[in-house]
């Protein structure tokens, strides 16, 4: 049996690399990780829809309430206002012209539209109920209520994030980090994309 002499592990004596001195901003990483998990959950819901559609002959297509299209428009619009807000916030913090009032204004507008969206979703529920379509009426209804509810809960989470951004921007010296602002807006845009996807799922007879 050959006995090789153990070589000491090679050590590079170059200065440590890889991680820089900048303060870490995990919010930006964390939000992508979180979005991956949310996307995975909705992928699971989607596969459940596909399997469920094939498993029974009780799938009845429902006509989606009109108000959903209005809600969709509002949510897309809110993504645009949030992008403007993000620019204004950055400009204000760097002292490049935008005022706090402008930044706050766009943020509040986004927040308001988010609230209108959630209220609109609720209105859609009321409309379905008035047509006698409840959670357990048929599988399509079940998925409609479930997906819109789960999405709305996530939107409410996004609204909480926006509220936090506004609170952090409010003091004389803002304590808002760029990564927090960015993370919040990524999340918000994702909610918009997710909603459009869900709308296609319930509307386009997937």
């Amino acid at each position: 049996m050959a006995t090789t002499v153990h070589e000491p592990p090679k050590i590079e004596q170059k200065p440590p690399t890889g991680v820089t001195d900048r303060p870490p901003e995990p919010a930006r990483t964390g939000i992508w990780v979180g979005l991956a998990a949310i996307a995975m959950s909705f992928a699971a819901f989607t596969s459940a829809i596909i399997v469920r559609q094939g498993s029974g002959n009780d799938w009845q297509h429902i006509v989606v309430p009109r108000i959903l299209f209005f809600n969709t428009a509002i949510l897309i619009l809110s993504s645009l206002t949030l992008e403007v807000a993000r620019k204004k916030v950055a400009s204000f913090i760097r002292g490049q012209g935008a005022t706090r009032a402008q930044a706050m204004g766009w943020l509040t507008a986004t927040l308001g539209m988010g609230l209108v969206f959630v209220a609109g979703q609720y209105a859609a529920w009321l409309q379905l109920r008035s047509e006698g379509l409840y959670l357990a009426t048929n599988p399509n209804c079940s998925f409609f209520y479930l997906l819109t509810a789960v999405h709305a809960i996530h939107v409410l989470g996004g609204l909480g994030g926006l509220a936090r951004v506004i609170r952090r921007l409010a003091p004389a010296v803002p304590i808002l980090r760029k990564s927090t602002m960015d993370a919040t807006s990524y999340y918000w845009h994702f909610m918009g994309i997710l909603w459009v996807y869900l709308l296609c799922v319930v509307w386009l007879k997937l």
Partner: protein, 589 residues
């Protein structure tokens, strides 16, 4: 600068509540997870005692059992359905609250940030929420013991429609099963938050010089595990939501039409029972690796220290763990070979299942090859690590059988399966937990554990575990079906002596675990004070005091100069060089 987003820029805790209960300190949270896992594992173990006892002495009364449940165990003799309740609770507790919590959440929380040189997790408040959410899940699950019909009886896999139709399907399938569904859903949320934290921390908070390849293999294991957990629990959560809705809102996701249960035509239609199985096992198989991967990392970390040499290849070990993690998502169907899947898909699932043995074999061979020519030091921690390898191999080879659909026709739902997963996922992972406890206890508590008690604990546990779980394979090969509370089948009669042997082994081995508990409690208060680096180890957790201060490195920022395992370095001042030591490694001529 904000308080939450910034890492560990929270100040030292001041009040008692902030320090010990609602702490955001990852070390306190890690210990809380550990304590919860200890509580869960002893409850789970006692449940298994009760089941084993009932199996071989079905008519003997266990005094006091009626206190646990009047209906389930009148006069101390449990009913067949109460056996199933205990079985369900045993599985759920062990898989979720022990095998997920202890090696991953508990030790990962405590040591991942320190090993990469961070002051805390990326999101300390999320971290606190993860633990308390897990705790809530535990409380909700335990509540099932105290509802009138008792805990659910559908096993930890909760196959629909048995789990979905409600109390018509049997005692425990009412409120008990609903609590089960809610508990698991809550647990999913907690695990998702935890995984998010682990991933962000590893990616963002590494100290200067801590490149990804300089992370200890345990950190790698926790990191890979959190990636698996993130996607697995993200699927189980919707599945549990659908299940709970079927139960309480009258939907029909998993319940097909025309079921007559307890003489009642169920008011459901169109659902798919196989949908539950697919969603559940899509989580369920990766869950096996959520349990075992951290143990692999921990055991590697400890063995390297005991062998006083690095593993033959750091990269190959990490690559193998990644391969296992990746493949774990393509094999869930092997739990459903006899469930009426398309026979072609059975073959499709069988192949990656067999392929997964390649990275597992590579890992085993690397461990064995590294042992060759090493300077192996025997401590309780290294004994449990070596035991882990033995158990992992024993539990792993039976996977060869179950991975093949043709053989699974015969072995599915027999005790062979029980032996397989208990060895590979239960005992092996628990050996990892034990090794971790003996190894890291000095760091966590500032006191050494008693090695003599530890070794006694090891010997009885090692031999005992084999006595319990090896015979399960023989029973399975003889065709003995699992999940029955007594042996009414003709063929099972000659097998009862084997069951008696297993039960006695289980009672003894279980009793030995109290030595561990005593050692834990005794050492916590009376153990010898631990030095900073009792094992002459290299990674960053041994550069800080035992126990570490609230901010780990005392406000300093560690700088890392070396690969994680500079052991057996000849010509250095010791036989090892710590990761943050600027000492140069003497280059041999």
């Amino acid at each position: 600068m904000s308080q939450e987003a910034a890492i560990a820029h929270h100040g030292p805790p001041t009040s008692f509540l902030r320090k010990h209960v609602f702490s955001v300190d990852h070390k306190v949270i890690g210990k809380q997870y550990f304590a919860l896992a200890i509580v869960a594992v002893f409850i789970g173990m006692i449940l298994s005692w009760l089941m084993r006892f009932h199996l071989v002495w079905p008519n003997a009364a266990l005094p006091g059992l009626q206190w646990l449940s009047k209906v389930g165990a009148p006069a101390g003799v449990m009913t067949p359905e109460y056996y199933l309740s205990l079985l369900t609770m045993h599985g759920t507790l062990m898989v979720f609250f022990v095998l997920t919590n202890a090696p991953f959440a508990a030790f990962g929380n405590y040591f991942l940030p320190i090993q990469i040189g961070a002051e805390d997790m990326a999101f300390p408040r999320f971290n606190m929420m993860s633990f308390w959410t897990t705790f809530a899940a535990f409380v909700v699950l335990m509540a099932a013991f105290f509802v009138p019909d008792g805990p659910p009886i559908s096993g930890w896999t909760a196959y629909a429609p048995l789990s979905a139709v409600g109390s018509d399907a049997g005692p425990g399938q009412g409120l008990g099963q609903t609590l089960w569904g809610l508990s698991i859903a809550i647990f999913c949320i907690a695990s998702l938050l935890g995984s998010l934290n682990f991933i962000s921390t590893t990616l963002d908070l590494r100290a200067k010089g801590m490149t990804l390849m300089r992370m200890p293999v345990s950190t790698w294991a926790w990191f890979i595990t959190s990636c698996i957990a993130l996607l697995a629990f993200a699927v189980l959560l919707p599945a549990c939501l659908l299940l709970v809705l079927d139960r309480i809102a009258g939907t029909s996701f998993f319940i097909p039409a025309g079921l007559v249960i307890s003489d009642r035509l169920q008011p459901h239609s169109g659902g798919s029972p196989l949908l539950w199985q697919h969603l559940f096992w899509f989580f369920g198989h990766p869950e096996v690796y959520i349990a075992i991967l951290p143990a692999m990392g921990i055991v590697s970390h400890i063995l390297i220290n005991s062998m006083r040499r690095p593993l033959l290849s750091h990269k190959v070990v990490i690559g193998s763990m990644m391969a296992i993690g990746f493949l774990s998502y393509m094999v869930w169907g092997h739990h459903m070979f006899v469930s009426g899947m398309n026979p072609f898909s059975a073959l499709v699932f069988s192949f990656p299942t067999l392929v997964i043995t390649i990275p597992a074999t590579v890992l085993t061979l690397i461990w064995l090859g590294s042992l060759y020519g090493s300077r192996l030091q025997i401590t309780t921690a290294s004994l449990f690590s070596l035991g882990f390898i033995s158990m992992f191999v024993s539990g792993g080879v039976s996977g060869f059988f179950l991975a093949q659909p043709s053989i699974d026709i015969y072995l599915h739902a027999t005790y062979f399966v029980v032996g397989h997963f208990h060895l590979v996922m239960g005992v092996a992972a628990i050996f990892g937990i034990f090794a971790a406890t003996y190894f890291w206890f000095p760091k966590m508590s500032g006191r050494m554990m008693n090695e003599t008690l530890g070794k006694i604990h090891f010997w009885f546990t090692f031999v005992g575990a084999y006595c319990i779980f090896m015979p399960f394979h023989y029973l399975g090969l003889a065709g003995n079906v699992r999940r029955t509370s007594s042996f009414v089948y003709d063929y099972a009669q000659p097998l009862i002596p084997v069951h008696k042997f297993i039960t006695i082994a289980a009672l003894c081995t279980g009793a030995v675990q109290f030595i561990f508990l005593i050692n834990l409690l005794y050492s916590r208060f009376k153990g010898a004070p631990a030095p900073d680096n009792p094992w002459n180890a290299t990674s960053l957790e041994w550069t800080v005091p035992s126990p570490p201060p609230w901010n780990n490195f005392g406000g300093k920022h560690p700088v890392v100069y070396h690969d994680p395992y500079q052991y057996g370095v000849e010509g250095a001042s010791g036989d090892f060089i710590m990761q943050n030591s600027p000492e140069k490694v003497p280059v041999r001529s």
